[in-house]
């Protein structure tokens, strides 16, 4: 695993919400009032090779966004380590921002929220590299201009404010801001989810061009299976904070191994004529505050057996390129 750029090793993240004073008093009286613990990520291990685009897919509460935020240094993991190029990069519990790496940059879902509405576009792009002295001070404005052109905008837009741009244009600006830091790794959190279909195609093309030309490594977080299939080399499927399946995109879409993965594929509507049947997954997504025992998917799984209720399946090698966490592939469900 010498070529892997990013290694996520047994990372867990729990959010504890301490009850307020009133809740504590109420809890004292009724006997509850324990802190609420959300298990956002449990024991996630992943490697991303240099130049690879890894898709992270799952439904709400699966922890995909938390994973992105841990890698981008916004959250400190509760357990485990994240290494970039062999060096630990995560914010420790008291870590100051200055010590965080500039090598990981994030692109958010909503370009209307991710740009400071009162800061000119050029300043938004230039601020990070100028502060970290990534670009020499005398060429900053040239560099901003060329970055804007690189993402398909005009250099002259540097002195405009974000509200003057459409959603797709703002997302390009957010990409330019990330690229300005000359990152090794990009974390894209639902980066095209809020864009219109026609604009989404433009931004995906831009991303694929940049990724190839600059040799970027990326964690591509999305709920959209068709987008992920299009841009990712490998795909990680998550459910309720755990990694359930990891495989090259092509293999995964041709032959999903985990029952959740196949169920997910079956419930996605596709563009085509005449399809009328939805093979929906039954039941609701359980709460990450109180995940079911054993395999978290067992209450919704058509193939679940007694072992699934008892034992958490571990991530096991299915063939030389794929891993899956399901008892079906690891000794049966009985």
């Amino acid at each position: 695993m010498s070529q892997s750029l990013l290694s996520i090793d047994q990372v867990s993240k729990r959010f504890t919400r301490k009850p307020g004073l009133a809740e504590r008093l109420a809890g004292r009286l009724s006997g509850g009032g324990e802190p609420v613990v959300v298990h956002a990520l449990t024991d996630v291990t992943l490697e991303v090779a240099r130049g690879e685009v890894l898709g992270v897919v799952g439904e709400s509460g699966c922890g995909k966004s938390t994973l992105g935020r841990v890698v981008a240094g916004i959250h400190a993991p509760s357990d485990g380590t994240v290494m970039l190029d062999g060096k630990p990069i995560t914010r420790d519990q008291r870590g100051t921002a200055e010590k965080l790496t500039t090598q990981v940059q994030m692109i958010h879902q909503d370009p209307f929220a991710s740009l400071n509405p009162r800061m000119k576009v050029g300043e938004t792009i230039a601020e990070g590299p100028r502060y970290h002295k990534i670009i020499p001070a005398n060429v900053v404005s040239e560099r901003v201009g060329s970055l804007l052109e690189q993402v398909g905008l005009e250099a002259a837009y540097a002195d405009r404010l974000p509200h003057q741009f459409s959603g797709g244009q703002r997302q390009r600006i957010a990409i330019a801001r990330a690229l300005a830091m000359e990152p090794e790794l990009l974390v894209l959190d639902e980066a095209v989810a809020s864009l219109d279909v026609s604009i989404q195609a433009q931004v995906l093309n831009l991303f694929m061009d940049l990724q190839r030309n600059l040799g970027l490594t990326a964690l591509f977080i999305s709920h959209d299976l068709s987008v992920v299939r299009h841009v990712c080399d490998r795909v990680a499927i998550m459910y309720l904070g755990r990694l359930v399946e990891l495989a090259p995109a092509k293999d995964l879409y041709e032959r999903p191994l985990h029952p959740y993965t196949s169920a997910l594929f079956a419930s996605v509507p596709t563009v085509g004529t005449g399809k009328r049947v939805f093979e929906a997954i039954q039941g609701e997504i359980p709460s990450p505050i109180n995940p079911p025992p054993g395999c978290a998917f067992h209450p919704r799984c058509p193939q679940a057996g007694p072992r699934c209720r008892r034992e958490v399946p571990r991530l096991a090698q299915a063939d030389d390129q794929r891993t899956v966490a399901c008892h079906l592939n690891d000794g049966g469900v009985a």
Binding site: R69, M106, S114, N116, M119, S166
Partner: protein, 312 residues
């Protein structure tokens, strides 16, 4: 790196959706929105006139009310419209020491403005620092700071100011300090409220993951986005600082008569009001009222214009 520019079909989405908007056009729009209320426009002119009167007082008025050598005892208690020993018409009469009331009021207005503005600006600074830190850092610091602020907001500002002035003694700096302590809590609460909302937005997270240092995020990203509601609170708080100061002076704990503010003028004249010498108290009172009402009207209109719900 530049050979990676995407194919030209990407460039097609490049024209901004809104035509270039400069600071000048934004200001012009703000002004035309503001002018939609005649009353607010009038209030603004009143404030401008009062400001010119107050700060131009030394050049505008016939008499320096501080210069005791200019006062004539024979001029005492002249009613409005009389001509005094100085040879000019005393539009608002004179007080018990023979001061021209108009001169005294304009000088008093200047003191009131200085106190109101400096207390407002200082309270704004302190309030922003407290509110921003509480919202940004959260946790124990937030709980501590905001509980103090809540505690303070739960008692009348005048009471707090009274106690402080009693402890600190009389004089302009002491009054300003008392007013700042009494008023920063309003700014802290408003800042905290607005900043807690902004803090959760993605652009703050983007700045954190860049990473940029905390102080920079607080003052360059968070602060500009919480400023609009604060400007409104600030105008209203300046008015309230002016009336607080007047109240303190009226109660006799504010400024001495040798350094007249509107409050001390009202207080001084109050003794004579039953003797039919109404002008000593009434005119400074009217000026105080006009000032406070005008500032509040301007603040209200600014709030209306800045409110995004009103934008069309």
């Amino acid at each position: 790196m530049n050979n990676s520019s995407p194919d030209n079909s990407n460039v097609a989405d490049s024209s901004p959706i809104i035509a270039r908007e400069t600071t000048a056009t934004r200001l012009r729009n703000f002004w035309s929105d503001y002018c939609e209320s005649r009353v607010a426009l009038m209030a603004l002119f009143v404030i401008i006139a009062l400001t010119i009167g107050a700060f131009g007082a030394p050049w505008l008025v016939p008499q320096d009310p501080y210069d005791l050598s200019l006062l004539e005892w024979s001029d005492a208690f002249l009613p409005p419209g009389e001509v005094g020993s100085g040879g000019y018409t005393l539009l608002l009469g004179t007080d018990n020491a023979g001061r021209d009331m108009l001169s005294a009021i304009l000088y008093g207005l200047r003191t009131s403005f200085v106190i109101g503005l400096s207390a407002g600006v200082l309270a704004l600074t302190v309030g922003i620092t407290v509110g921003l830190s509480a919202a940004y850092f959260g946790g124990r610091l937030e709980a501590l700071l905001m509980r103090i602020v809540d505690l303070q907001l739960s008692m009348p500002a005048i009471l707090l100011a009274l106690v402080l002035v009693a402890m600190l003694g009389q004089g302009v700096p002491q009054i300003i300090l008392a007013l700042v302590v009494a008023q920063y809590a309003y700014f802290a609460r408003t800042t905290h409220g607005a900043a807690s909302v902004e803090r959760r937005k993605d652009y703050i997270e983007a700045a954190r993951s860049t990473p940029l240092p905390t102080r920079r995020i607080m003052f360059r990203h968070l602060l500009p986005n919480v400023l609009p509601p604060l400007i409104v609170v600030a105008t209203v708080q300046v008015a309230s600082a002016i009336s607080l100061e007047a109240t303190l002076s009226f109660l006799g704990v504010g400024l001495p008569l040798t350094e007249p503010s509107l409050g001390s003028l009202i207080s001084n004249g109050f003794k004579y009001i039953h003797a039919g010498r109404y002008w000593l108290s009434i005119y400074p009172g009217i000026f105080l009222m006009i000032t406070v009402v005008a500032i509040n009207l301007v603040g209200d209109q600014v709030r209306t214009v800045l409110d995004p719900r009103n934008s069309r």
